[in-house]
């Protein structure tokens, strides 16, 4: 698929389509959709912005590439004046007081936000079932989960309800739903896009990530959102990625894959066969392919969840109903905190907060939390060594196809293990793109940190190769 952004831009400029009609059409599609992708529609705001774009075009003014392009926002981003619920009871009536940096940059470029999108509550989940708005249903089979936590965003893009959506990826929450719904989803290098205004889950791996139907649209949106931001001191300045620079992949000579991912008993037979067939096609193009050693899946998942739970226990401690949120009064302040949190957090969120406080407790932090940090460093070192040998690491997105709705909630441990192929790259803070090719749930392309451009280059190469 070619760039939808460019296509719609042309239609607007040539007056084939009026922006207000386009926005109204997308709002109607969202309103009537049976996939549970919508937490709230931004109809008034969107139509007002669209009318301004139409006026500009009517007056013969030039419009920017993103002006008038409708997009969706995972409901964990601040957008001033809009409800920002994190799909939770606690914040179901919370209004953003300010706007996230990444979203503001899109607004400044003229893109039009039309929907706050359903997701797992506070990003806690891999299926978008852990939400007060009802489980998000897969774009192609409504009996299956959409994946998560950015499930609503992925389905909206897959169904053409939005041109692109902005998800959040902490351990795979953009890449896995992108794979489950056959679209592109990028987790950029950690820090490339400011996290300011993204509700914090695990701050050391939280990333803002675009979902779209083409590599070109991912590139356009990534460029707009990237950059250093004084409000997120882990953000860094990055060069724009040019369209021409990602068309030629001659610099990619060697590709690696983790052999234990493929030799695992947990991988679906067809996913394995399709992945190995892809490897053969890459070899046939003259690229050297190396099988690499990596950490066991269980170690990766356990390390990620140990650290993510510790961070989320800390981040979510602010949600006590004092300054905002659905406060439930009790006999004193302490009881008010406890009742507010007990009644308003989902079971999965409570499980993660409790897990986080367990590992941060005296007596447990050494043997679990600090050891988890040490393993994370080993994982990072492993990646550094790998990228001395290979340019790109290729892997499946998930070991198997999407589960049926309801199955993940019954077995949280199995849900955690289903993140086996995504969490390692999060811990390494590496740029990783899901492409809708290669296996039933796509492929992940990963490069060394800050080399997001190489990821897009290889995606273009694979688009024409497999």
């Amino acid at each position: 698929m070619e760039s939808q952004i460019k296509q719609i831009h042309q239609q607007l400029v040539s007056k084939q389509v009026r922006c207000t009609d386009l926005i109204q059409q997308k709002l109607d599609l969202l309103k009537n959709n049976a996939h549970n992708t919508v937490n709230s529609l931004l109809d008034t705001l969107a139509l007002n912005l669209a009318a301004k774009v139409d006026d500009k075009i009517a007056n013969g003014e030039t419009i920017g590439l993103l002006e008038g392009i409708p997009f969706g926002i995972k409901d964990v981003y601040m957008l001033q004046g809009s409800y920002t619920t994190a799909s939770s009871n606690l914040l179901k009536n919370y209004k953003s007081a300010y706007t996230a940096t990444a979203i503001q940059k899109l607004l400044d470029a003229g893109a039009i936000p039309i929907v706050k999108e359903n997701c797992d509550s506070f990003g806690h989940g891999s299926s978008s079932e852990n939400t007060i708005f009802g489980a998000v249903k897969n774009a192609t089979d409504t009996n299956l989960v959409a994946g998560g936590s950015s499930g609503g965003s992925a389905v909206n893009v897959a169904k053409d309800f939005t041109v692109f959506s902005i998800g959040g990826d902490t351990g795979g929450s953009v890449r896995q739903p992108a794979g489950y719904n056959n679209i592109y989803g990028l987790k950029p290098s950690y820090g490339r896009i400011s996290r300011y205004g993204l509700m914090a889950y695990a701050s050391s791996t939280d990333c803002v990530g675009p979902l779209a139907k083409s590599i070109e649209d991912i590139r356009i949106v990534l460029n707009i959102m990237s950059g250093k931001d004084a409000k997120d001191q882990t953000s860094y300045a990055s060069a724009e990625i040019n369209e021409d620079s990602i068309l030629n992949s001659d610099s990619i000579k060697t590709v690696g894959y983790f052999k234990n991912f493929i030799e695992s008993d947990a991988i679906d037979v067809q996913v394995k066969a399709d992945f190995l067939a892809t490897i053969e096609k890459i070899k046939a193009k003259g690229i050297t392919v190396k099988a690499l050693d990596f950490f066991e899946s269980e170690t990766l998942v356990s390390t990620y969840y140990t650290l993510a739970m510790a961070e989320t226990a800390s981040n979510l401690s602010r949600l006590d109903g004092t300054n905002y949120g659905n406060r439930i009064e009790a006999e004193n302040l302490k009881e008010t905190y406890a009742v507010t949190r007990s009644e308003n957090f989902s079971e999965e969120t409570k499980r993660r907060i409790v897990g986080g406080n367990q590992v941060l407790s005296q007596g447990f932090s050494d043997e679990i939390y600090l050891k988890g940090l040490a393993i994370r460093n080993q994982i990072s070192e492993n990646f550094n060594n790998d990228f001395n040998e290979v340019d790109i690491i290729l892997s499946p997105v998930t070991p198997s196809t999407p589960p049926k709705i309801g199955d993940s909630l019954k077995d949280p441990h199995a849900m955690y293990l289903s993140d086996a192929y995504t969490v390692g790259f999060s811990l390494g803070q590496l740029p990783t793109l899901t492409i809708p090719q290669g296996t039933a749930t796509g492929l992940q392309i990963t490069a060394a940190k800050k080399n997001d451009e190489l990821v897009l280059k290889f995606a273009n190469f694979l688009k024409d190769t497999i």
Partner: protein, 90 residues
């Protein structure tokens, strides 16, 4: 501070208990091999910030809209004042 605090108190979640699903993950970490020299290079090439890059320590006035929304989000208001529940007296 010798008082032992259980996870339900630490988490401010009534009746909270460690879960089996999560404990299984922690067991993997306990049993994993790790080298002990890694704290010298925690995120060795990653998130360090140069002192010169620290943002200015200035007070930025919120916009009227922002102030209004913050008040709207506040759960209680009495006689024009924002109020919190009774203070902890122990």
């Amino acid at each position: 501070m010798s008082k032992i605090m259980t996870v339900d108190i630490l988490s401010s979640i009534k009746g909270a208990e460690p879960s089996e699903a999560v404990n299984k993950l922690f067991e993997v970490i306990k049993n994993a091999n790790s080298t002990n020299n890694t704290f010298n290079n925690v995120f060795n090439n990653n998130n360090c910030i140069c002192l010169n890059d620290l943002r200015d320590d200035v007070v930025i006035e919120s916009s009227e809209t922002e102030k209004q929304i913050i008040k709207e989000n506040f759960p209680k208001e009495k006689d024009g004042y924002l109020v919190v529940a009774k203070v902890i007296e122990e």
